[in-house]
Every structure is written in C-alpha cells, then in structure tokens.
Symmetry: C2
Subunit: 452 residues, 2 copies
Amino acid sequence: MNDAVGTLKNSIIKLTEEKKYAALRDVLSTMNSADIAALFEEEIPEETLPLLFRLLPKELAADTFVEMSADQQEMLIKGFSDNELKEVVDELYVDDAVDIVEEMPANVVKRILTQADPEKRRMINNILKYPDDSAGSIMTTEFVELRPHMTVDDAILHIRRGGIDKETINTCFVCKKDRTLIGMVTIKDLILAESETTMEELMEENIISVGTLEDQEAVALAFSKYDFLAMPVVDGEGRLVGIVTVDDVLDVMEQETTEDIEKMAAIVPADKPYLKQSTFDLWKSRIPWLLLLMISATFTGLIISSFEDALSKYVILTAYIPMLMDTGGNSGGQASVTIIRAISLGEIEFRDIFKVIWKEFRVALVCGITLAVCNFAKLMLFDGLELMVALTICLTLVVTVFCAKFVGCTLPLLAKKIGFDPAVMASPFITTIVDAISLLVYFYFSSMLLHI
Amino acid sequence: MNDAVGTLKNSIIKLTEEKKYAALRDVLSTMNSADIAALFEEEIPEETLPLLFRLLPKELAADTFVEMSADQQEMLIKGFSDNELKEVVDELYVDDAVDIVEEMPANVVKRILTQADPEKRRMINNILKYPDDSAGSIMTTEFVELRPHMTVDDAILHIRRGGIDKETINTCFVCKKDRTLIGMVTIKDLILAESETTMEELMEENIISVGTLEDQEAVALAFSKYDFLAMPVVDGEGRLVGIVTVDDVLDVMEQETTEDIEKMAAIVPADKPYLKQSTFDLWKSRIPWLLLLMISATFTGLIISSFEDALSKYVILTAYIPMLMDTGGNSGGQASVTIIRAISLGEIEFRDIFKVIWKEFRVALVCGITLAVCNFAKLMLFDGLELMVALTICLTLVVTVFCAKFVGCTLPLLAKKIGFDPAVMASPFITTIVDAISLLVYFYFSSMLLHI
C-alpha cells in the first residue's frame, strides 16, 4: 500500500542503533499509530521498546499503545512510573481502555484503574460488567448528547466544549433529561442547517438502537444493513447508555468471521492470531473435533465390516469407496457451507427450510446426473468395468449426492433452530454422516444389482 | 433488533389492500430505507410496488431504490417516466448510481445516463472505466476538497455551500490547485479549531492513500488496520480522484469473506444471494470442483486396486480406511483453513513458511500421538484386534496427521506465492491429496508389519 513504510522501518532501526534520538522522535511523529505498533511488534528488540515509546508525543503514544499486543502493553506498563501510566490512561478512549484492562493480569488492572481519573474509572467499570460479545462490552460511553430544545448554535458550542474527549462527533444523540433517547443528528445536519433550528426540528426520530445485551454479531449485521457510523445502545428503559462506533464493528466482523471459518473447519475458535498461539493452544483447539470425528468414523468402519463377504466377492467395489465418500462429502459440504453463510448474513431463516430443501433437491438432481454420466463414461471406457458394476456405482453416486445435499442444507438450519451454532454443521461433520450413508447406499445397490 | 418493524409490515400490507394511501405515505415516511427495501423484496406483490414507491418522499425514495434488488430496480425503471427517473437519479450518490448501472441491461443504462445531469454522467462514466474489485470501482467522486490557505471559517462556508451533495463531510481533503493530495482534516478538527486557523496548519499531512487499481480487499484491510472512515484514492501522479467510504468497505468485507468461504468449500463464487440463485446458477458454481475432485479421487481408487491382494488377505484392514482418510482430511483441513484465514488477514506471508511448518510439525506431533493412543486403546479393548494390526493402523494415523498438516500448511502459502488464490487450497482439495497419501502409508506399514 505504501512502500515508504518499508524504508522508514530500516531508517528507524539504524537510528536506534546509532542512538540518534532527536531524529528518531521526528521520524516517529510522522508515522501512523498502526504502523508504529506493527514496527514495535516485529522489528524492535524488546529492551529498546520502552525507550522508543517514550519518544512518542503524548497523543500518538496513547494511540500506538492501543494498537500494540497485550504482551507488549503489559511489559510497558510494568516499566512505567505511575505518572507515565496516568499520562497514557488519560489519553485513552474508554472502550480502548476496557479492551486493554480485559487482557491484563489483576495487579496491572489495579494499577491502571488507580491512575484513571474517577469519572473514567466509573465508565470502565460500567462497561466491564457486560458479558463478552454483547453490545455493552464493545460500546463506548463517551458520546455527544444533546437536548431537544438546543439550537444548532447551542449544539455546536456544546460540541466545541466537550468534543475533544468524545470518540466521535459525527453522530450526536438527542435525549430527554432522564437520558431517554429520542433522536439523532449528524454533524452534517448541524453544519448545513440554519443556526436557529432546534434539535427537535432537525433530528431524525426514526432511530434503530440495540439493547446492551444484544449479540455483537447482530450489531455488526445492522451496521452493514443500515450503513451506520455509530449506533446507540440503550438499557431496558430506552435510556442511552453508550454507542458502538463503526471502527469497532470492523474488528467484530473480522473476529466473528474468523470464528465461523474455524468452526467450519472443525477447530475450536481461539482468541489469538496464529503466530501467537503456542503448540498447546493449537492442540487444544484442534484435538476435540479430531477425536470426536475419528470415533464417529468408526461407524463407517462397522458398515464396511458387516459387508466384508460382499466386498471379498467383488473386490473391485472397494476401489470406488474413496471416490463415493469424497464426492458425497464435497456435495454435502458445499450445501452446508452455503447455508451457514446465508444464515450468518441474515439471508435465510428456519422458516425458509422447505424453500431451501426444494432448491437443493433440484441442484442435487442436476449435479448428481452430471457426475453419474461422466463417471459412467469413465467406468465403461477407461476402467473397463462390467455394466452392472458401473451402474451400481453411478446409481450410488446419484443417491449419495441427494442425501448429502439434503443433510447439508437441513442440519445447519436445524442447529440454528435449537440454539446451536450452525457453523459447526459444516464439511467435517457432514462428511462423517455422509460417509456412512454413501456406504449403506452402495451396499444396498450392490446386493440388488449384483445379487451378493 | 426492532420488533416494531414486524408489526409495521402487517399494517402496511393491510393499508395497501384497503387503498389508504395517505396513511401509507405517513407510515412509510417514518421507516428506514433498508427496512422499506426489505419489505418491498419480501412481502409486497409486484404490481403494487410502483404505486408504493411513488408514495415515498423524494430523498427516501432514492435511498430505498439503492437498497433494492437489481430485478426490482429494473422493473421500476421500466415503469418510470423520464421525469420520475430523473428525480431518482438526481438524488443518488455517484457510487450508488454506478452500482446500479453495472447491474442493468444496456437499454436501461442508456436511459439512466440520459437522465443524469452532465456532471454526474461524467463522474459515473469515470468510475465505470475502473476494473471490477479495484479501489476505483468502489470509490465515490463526491467529496469535500479544501485548499491549504483556507481558514476554518472558509472551510465551513465551503462545506455549507457544497456539502449537501457530498457523500461524507466527516473527512475533508486538502489539495493543491492541481488536485495533488497534501493533507486531511476531519470535521471534528474543524469544529474544535479556532476560526482563523488555516488548513495548512490544521491538516494531518501523514496520509495513507490507495491507488485507483489497488484491490478492494487490500483497501478493506487498511480500513480495519487504521480505523478510517474514508480513504483517499489517488492516481499515478498523486492527484486525488475519489474516496472510499467505510459503508462501502463493510459491503466489500462481507462480499470478500463470502467468496473466500465459498472457495474453501469447493464452490465457484457467485454474485447473488442464495435464494436468488437459480438451480442452474448453483449447478454452475458447484459442478466444476465436484467433477475435478471426483476424477482426482480415482487415484485413490487406483492405490486400493493395486493392493487388492493384501486387502483380501487382511479384510479387516478395509474397515479402517474411512477413519484414516477422514482423520487425515480433517487434520489437513484444519491446518489449511487456519493458514488461509491468517493470509487473508495479512497475519502471515510466504516468508513465514518455515516458521509455519515448524509450528505445524509440533502440533502434528501432539495431535498425532493423542489420536494414536486413543485409537490404540479402542482397537485393542473394543475391536479386539491383533497387536500388529492395531500398531499398523496407529502408526499410519501418526504419519498421516504429519503429512496432512504439512500439505495443509504449505499449499496455501505456495498458492499465494505463485499468484493463485490460497482459499482454493482448503479442505476438499487437501482431502483428495491426503486420501492418497494416507492409503500409501497404510499399505506401506501393512506390508512392513504384517508381511503381506
């Protein structure tokens, strides 16, 4: 994106080695906090980190601190004097402070809360009480609150007085005295309106809000549906308690998608990025499903065992087991993943189940026939099989694709209905079920057509 | 999120049936454009749609139009008089107009462009020339452009004059006369600054921008890294040609993630949502990989055929083929999906390949041993196998997990390196490779340990 960043990195490492601190400060001041954090993370030896951090201007230091990894944050805090810690904490927005506090050990948390001013401490504690992944846990309590009788001039004056501490002034919220949310005004409305217009006249009254306990995934969906920059969070009585801003929603979307993808691959989601996970972390996320699916595959083995006689008569049948199982697994996986994604985008719900089954039924028909015809040609022309054996294999293929698409499209919807996560019903799980089905069908057709 | 919407829907359907248009207009005016579009999409009979649409106030009508499906947009446009079409087009932001134009047949496009005023037509054509999925294709050309010598008062006056037509005023861009981008100013900066401050003094000079041809996925990553609300798009000479806003980035993220997930499930990505895809559409996206993987599975069959003699001596070995193949597929799938996701989040790159292999090597060791030990216990205690047969199966398991994790973690990185999409190297593809490997290993150990 920006090649200058690469060259900058090299200069900074050189300047650090040559202890040219004045020049270093000047260079760092021109950089973006996200880039500085990335640089600290990758290229800088741990012992020079506190030194470099202290060179940053106050505001940039706080912004950079937010972007750093929890390990580095903890290391820096442990080296900070109380005064230094206070300077950083003062500059943090409340929701960022909460994110940091959640990652720190108890003694560090205590130091942070002691250094925060009482108002900020109250706000941090307030957000900490909401459950993980709820709207409350990702909101910030620093927003611009206006009153209905204020004029545009009043509002702008109000923003100029308090705005520096607010995370965003782009969307302002109009509340009654008891904090009941009654409207929204954007900064664009304020700038473009006549100075005597009151908030009551200007505000958008038809507002979408979420409750504090709403799932963060639902909040993210609403953002992309309604193109919001900030969404109000209200308590049970409709009083405004915080706002969720779009930058946090981008992070939520990324995190929720990663979780979905991991679940679909039979992985128990972990919080940390891949390179930060220890061998034990990775083992913990991967082994439960591997074990469970390995045990389940036993049933498939049992089916094969019980047809040992048939297989020993027509040994050639064994050779097509992997092809049938894989094609079944792939067909089912396609259907389940499509449905899981559509569910998580809010495109389909449980009540669509018959529409979905009917669609998959037709798709299975055309996919099954296409595969069977191609396979039949191959079996007869290249593999030189007997007609009846080829027929057995191709009939199995069609029926397997049918069953696979059916299982693949219904299980995620059923899971959703009974309150399970649909993402778990993806390829690995579906494959195990479809394996067993395809073998049963295979042996059924074998005994019918080949009389074994 | 908002139960009121559900009840509203029922009232609107009733009011339509009773032809109470005045009441309908009042109700619709209180609704959000995204909700109206969803209502039109699902619940309203096609013939009443134009009527309801004409009831909407002008601005809301345009916002709703943007949110509707391409089919419905086309139907409405065909029913519009030239005047009605002009009214809608006038209210559209340029980037939304481009999205609509891209979906329409040629004759409708011609009508839209004829009704657009010349300036808007020029902007639409300008964006249309950028390739799909480039930053240029998702940008808007309606942004606030300031000059370095302007004071805060000048700037606010400038925004009040032209701001109504800009998609966002939250981030403004400072350019030289030749449009070279030199700085950024947020509306927050403007509101909080002294009125005599010039843009030159106020602006942030350290700006991150993208080129017009940059991939939209890279743009989305930059948004979530830098917490932007709008990102400038510049041409080869550094001149500002447009901006990408965060609402479009949310859509891009959703779309790119869906594509990745589909590719990982062996589906050729389609543009439309699931319920809008015809049977033929779904067939087209699913059959290529199914066919390819079915043919590839032939090799696995060949391996089995060539070991027919061994299998007929130890028929029990056949029963464990599905378990070995599935466990291998799942282990490889876990590794590949983890790496694919880490690549698309920018967490790892090709140069990390040895770090990744070493990590997966250790994970494979602990996962393989855990699985083998559990399986060994089961084989001896429940299945009552001979010691050497159980050993054969468990050794195969450990080696298969090793190979699967190795293949799973290297293929996506290699694909990325040679310019392929890593997402294709997910479970279905990995499974096919690992199936063959696991069988080869199985038969190798069988011949070693069981002397067949």
